[in-house]
Every structure is written in structure tokens, then in C-alpha cells.
Amino acid sequence: MSSKHWHQTLAGLAAAVICVGAAAQKKYDSGADDKEIKIGAIHPYSGPASAYGAIGKAIGAYFDKVNAEGGINGRKVKYIALDDGYNPAKTVEMARKLVEEDEALLVFNPLGTPPNTAIHKYMNQKKVPQLFVATGATKWGDPKNFPWTMGWQPNYQSEAKVFAAHILETKPNAKIAVLYQNDDYGKDYLKGFEDGLGDKAKTMIVSKITYEVTDPTVDSQIVTLKSSGADTFFNITTPKFAAQAIKKAAEVGWKPTHYLNSVSASVGSVMTPAGPENGIGIYTASYIKDPTDPQFQKGKDWDDYVAWFNKYNSSGNINDVNATYGYTVAQGLVQVLKQAGDNLTRENIMKQAASLDITLPRLLPGVNVKTGPDDFYPIEREQLARFDGKTWVLFGKVYGR
């Protein structure tokens, strides 16, 4: 046999090996094939929490951009967006539709703690990823018991730890008063705060008071907290009560160092009704670039964001931070799918989601997305911000792991 033949044979063999190798690498679960990846998502487009529907729409608009630019590893994303109206019973129905009828590869970013609780067990029984859920409860990062569920945004406990760290740095002898909502959300924050203070929690926290979500006001709680003699106040309340607390504290002349949970860090629905002058100096924490903040309305990432918004999401409101959230979380998923390559099994999706170490353009500088086999909390870093009477001004270093 001539050497030319040898070469051809070898080349042919090599090509065959490569082909076999490539074919062996292509692995699919239902919901993925050579052309398409089916992503299911559940958001409230109707009902009491329908403002969050903007997240679902922004995610879809981001996938439109991805598809227009050629898709992910040559596959288009098919986005199936369903409405649960923030009703857990409906969430169950929708999750079952996505898994059993539409056969989506994964269920992406379902929103709210009760809706996610309703499908938690089901998704893990079915071994379908419940990926990057839109809630801050701490229970979503439990890979031992629920390996198919993963959170996204900073959880309540890690945010409370940021506040605790700041207090220990700036005011180690603080006498702290805590007001919290008497449910899992309030208790989650309190636990993180106490863990963050560590051994000093017992001595530093001089007063802890709860309120019920059904209470008309928190006025009497504020008066009691003031009389405890505390000079620092951790305010774990939802928007309506946060506004009441800020206003009442000013009325009774209590001027503690005031930390407000990010749940209520809204200028429009909290600081303005409370009276902006009463809120000057209050601290909160943040991880995402607010589209209304002038300091983030420049640079390439802003130009990209605006271009995307105008082309694909023009029915939305550019001032809505929920659209930024949707844009960012969709980028996170695209990264997971890119990493997964041609191995689009549900197992590999979770494996790739649990090996992220990236930054995303509309997260604050220094805030990253980092996960590991035992770390199912993607975003854990936050930066503190202070209210200047008009807006939240970021300052200092980025806290968290």
C-alpha cells in the first residue's frame, strides 16, 4: 500500500473517530435536541403580583435576542412562558404542564416563595431542574435534600449578614433594636442577622419585636423600640410597614442608625410616602444596577441594555428594575446552557449551574455569580447604599462571599 493511501486511510480513521466522539458527546433529555432547547417559565402575569410579570417578559425578550444572534451552540431557545397569578395551586398545574405536556428541559425562574414551595417536592421527584428561582428565601440552597432546585438572588440571610458585618465594623458597641414581620421571611432575616453578629448577638440586640402582616400599623412597636434605648435599628418590614416605621420614628424623635432590608428599598413606594426628609441616612443593600440611577446610565453595558430594550422589550418600562432582573437572570441561564455544550441532560444542567463563576454586566461592580456543588446560592454579594433624600447612593466595599 502506498504512503498516499496510508495517509488517506489514517485521515479517514481520524475523521471517523472525531465523528463518533462528537456523536457520543451529544446527549439529550426531553426538551432538547439538535435544533432547540425548550425552557419553561412561570411568572405572575395576572393577579396581585402581576408587576413581576415584567421579569418573565424581559426573559423572553432576552431569548429573542439570543435567537436572533444564532442561538446557543447552534440551538434556538424555545421559551414557554406561563401565568400562575401568584397562586400556588396554579403553579403546580403550570409546572406539571411544563414537565409533562410541553416536556421542557427545565423550569426557569418561577417567582415567589409560596409558589416555589408548592412545586419544590414535585420538581425534585421528577428530577427536573427548578433553576434560579425568583425568591430570597434561604431554603432554595439545599443541594443535599433538593439537588434539583437552585436560588438566584442574595438570600435574606446573607443580606442580613451584610448588615451585621457593617455594624461590627463601624459600631461594635451598638445597641440594636429589631422589628420583623412574624413569618418565614422575617425569621429568615433575623436568623442571618444573629448568625452574622455571632457571639455578640445576645448582648448587642437589646430588643426584638414582631408585627403581623394583618396589623394596621407598626406605630406602637416603634414607640416600644425607642424606649428600649437602642441606637441602631434593623428594619425587617415589607414596603407599607417600612414607610410607617420610618415616618413614626421621625415623629417620636428616634434617630437610630437605621438599616432597611432591600425588600423595601423602593424610593417610590417606601421613601416618598414616609417623607424623603425622614429617610436621609438610612442604609440598605443592593446587588443590581438600578436603571434609574444616573451613575449606571453610561458605559457599554448600559448601551447594550438600552439597545436590547428598544429592539426586543419595547412594550416594557425602561425604568423598571424588574426588566433588569429578567435580563440578568436570562444571561445567567444562557451561560449555563453554553457551558453544558452538547450534553443537554438535566443532570448536566444542574452540574453546570453548580459550577458558575461569572460576572454579569448589569450586576453591581464586584458582585459575581458563583456556585459550587455545595453552594446553591448564586449571588451572595451586596453593596451598601445610603439614602440622600432623593435616591440610594452606593458606598464602601462589596460584602459577602
Binding site: S46, D83, P88, V99, A118
Partner: protein
């Protein structure tokens, strides 16, 4: 052949067809659809309960979601905290809801029409919040609710290539309970009690003059109605396998009312059509538009009520009287469908 014999033959034929369809259905569709039809049966029982009160007795309730919630929570707590088997919780949920409904019936005696509607609306608004109250949080699980385990089938087989799994088992269980509840309602409403309830609705003073004890009948109607809806809630808890306060907002009460009106006031089979409507039409609306699913739903609802002002059963009855057997011999048949509809059997007897 006499008219009534012909009518009864049609009735049994329709019933046999319906039964065959109900038995075959879960093996013809996917698991997820079985789950949806399961919910249809649950809503049908709940709407039937509401219809006993509002359709037959004329007491408007905007708060039946509250009884549904109480039934669901009773079942969930008994299953998860007391370890009772799922089937044992349904009668207990019915009893608990009967008591609550009966008690609610007392203020209802003094409140008529729209005032009663507002009082029951208050109930629907209050119950989800009360369920979160810390005094009972150890039982209710607070805002997080209770995650339940789906009942497993006692045996398995394959039929038409489909496995007999948890969803299909639950479907037949729910179907059995629904049939029992419908039979109970039918027995209750077509006899003396039903006539008394309708008499109270149409003319309370005349009803009292005929010797009907208004307070007893009205509060019992409230209790029975709540018990039906409570059993539905308990079934729903097993089907969804999760209860939480956010599942039972005031929207649920409104949906049950919508289902009743769509199906047809004071009709028993109407509950099934109403249940189909509230289960499937919101999903259709969601598929048509992401921006305003509720508006689409509203438009569909208005269109339906325009086409069938007396509900699906009223429409069916009109068609039957106009085109069914013996239509030619009843020239004035259309008259029966004006005003508040009632089944032909009832109009004849009263």
C-alpha cells in the same frame, strides 16, 4: 310511547354515555390532563355547593373560597399532623365546614341580598389572613403552608398503554366522591327540601305562610352548601398536594361564582360546565396574551354570557325545548327559559 318515558330514555342514554366517557377519559390523555380533569371534578363539587345556596336558595355568597380553604386545611392538617388516611379526611372536612357554614347562616338570616354578599366577601378576605395567624401556625404552617404526599394507588395495571398511577387513581377516587355528592344533591333538591329552598328564594313570606321554617332552612342550606364546598376543598388539597393561604384568595370565591353563573343557576349538571370553564378558560386567555390575560378572560366571559344569558344549562334547555323530541307539541316552550332558570321537572311540580 309517552312523552315522559321518551324523556327518561334519553336521560339514561345520556347518563350512560357520560359515565363511559368519564371512565375512559383518564386513559386517553396524558398525566397532566388527568390532573386538570381531576381539578374540574373538584371545582364541580365546589360549584354545586355554592349553587345549593345561591342558585336554589337565593342567598348570594361571595365567600365560598373560604369554605374551600377550610376544607382543604382540615384535610391537610388531619393528614400531615394527625396521620389520618386521605379518604378519612373528606367527611371530616365536610362536617367542619357544615358547622362553619351553619354558624355563618345565622348572620345571614338578618342580612339579605347584597348585604349578605358583602358579609360573605369579608369572610373570603379574612380567611387567608387568619390562616397565617401565629396562634395556629403550628398547625397551618403559616405563610409557607403544608406540603402533602399524593396518595399512591393500591394496585397498578396498564390500560390502553397508560399506567394506572397516582394521578389516575386519584381521578377515580375524586370521580367517585363527585358522583356521590351529585347524587346527594339531586336527592336533596328534587324533593320536598328542594321545593322549600326554591320557595324561600322566590317568595320568603309566602314560603313562611306555607309552614316552611325559614331560619332552619336558610341556615341549614348554608351549612350543607359549605359542607359540599369543604369536601371539594379537601379533595383539592390531595390533588394539588399543597395548601397555603395564597392558594385561597378572594379570586377563588369569585371564580366559583363565575363557574356557577356560567353553568347555570339552580341546575345540577351546570356545575360541571362551570368547572370546565374556570379550569380551562384562564389558560386559554393566558395563551392568547401575556400582557392582559385577565382582560381576555373578561372578554370571553362577557361573550359567553351574551350568547348564553342563562348559562350553559339554560342554553341546553332552550335547545331541547325547541328542537328536542316533542318540541312541535310545545309551541310555547321558549317561555320556560325567561327569568331565573329552573329545571323543567321543578317548574312542573311547583
Amino acid at each position: 310511547m309517552s312523552d315522559s318515558a321518551r324523556r327518561s330514555r334519553w336521560f339514561w342514554l345520556a347518563l350512560a354515555l357520560l359515565a363511559a366517557a368519564a371512565l375512559l377519559l383518564p386513559f386517553l390523555v396524558k398525566n397532566y390532563r388527568v390532573f386538570q380533569f381531576n381539578l374540574v371534578l373538584v371545582y364541580a363539587v365546589a360549584i354545586l355547593g355554592l349553587n345549593i345556596l345561591t342558585g336554589y336558595n337565593g342567598q348570594i355568597s361571595l365567600g365560598h373560597g373560604a369554605f374551600y380553604a377550610i376544607g382543604a386545611y382540615t384535610a391537610a392538617i388531619l393528614m400531615e399532623r394527625a396521620g389520618l388516611p386521605y379518604w378519612a379526611t373528606w367527611p371530616l372536612a365536610g362536617v367542619v365546614c357544615f358547622i362553619f357554614g351553619f354558624l355563618m347562616g345565622f348572620p345571614a338570616l338578618r342580612l339579605g341580598g347584597h348585604y349578605l354578599a358583602v358579609a360573605t366577601l369579608a369572610l373570603a378576605l379574612a380567611v387567608p389572613q387568619l390562616l397565617k395567624h401565629k396562634a395556629i401556625e403550628a398547625y397551618t404552617g403559616g405563610v409557607q403552608g403544608i406540603v402533602l404526599t399524593k396518595p399512591e394507588p393500591p394496585f397498578t395495571f396498564r390500560f390502553l398503554g397508560q399506567p394506572f398511577n397516582a394521578d389516575r387513581w386519584l381521578y377515580f377516587v375524586t370521580l367517585t366522591v363527585a358522583v356521590v355528592m351529585f347524587a346527594l344533591a339531586w336527592n336533596l333538591l328534587r324533593g320536598r327540601v328542594g321545593r322549600a329552598l326554591i320557595a324561600i328564594r322566590d317568595h320568603p313570606i309566602a314560603a313562611a305562610a306555607m309552614g316552611i321554617n325559614l331560619p332552619v332552612f336558610k341556615s341549614t342550606a348554608f351549612g350543607v352548601s359549605a359542607a359540599f364546598t369543604g369536601v371539594a376543598g379537601a379533595l383539592g388539597a390531595s390533588v394539588i398536594a399543597f395548601v397555603s393561604p395564597d392558594s385561597f384568595t378572594v379570586t377563588l370565591s369569585i371564580f366559583l361564582l363565575v363557574g356557577m353563573v356560567v353553568g347555570g343557576l339552580a341546575t345540577i349538571p351546570g356545575a360541571l360546565f362551570g368547572a370546565l370553564f374556570i379550569q380551562f378558560v384562564p389558560n386559554i386567555a393566558d395563551e392568547l396574551s401575556k400582557s392582559a390575560p385577565a382582560a381576555i378572560y373578561g372578554v370571553l366571559l362577557i361573550a359567553l354570557m351574551y350568547l348564553m344569558p342563562t348559562g350553559v344549562m339554560g342554553f341546553v334547555r332552550t335547545l331541547w325545548l325547541r328542537h328536542g323530541p316533542g318540541a312541535a307539541r310545545r309551541p310555547s316552550a321558549g317561555v320556560a327559559t325567561t327569568g331565573v332558570p329552573a329545571p323543567p321537572a321543578l317548574t312542573k311540580e311547583t
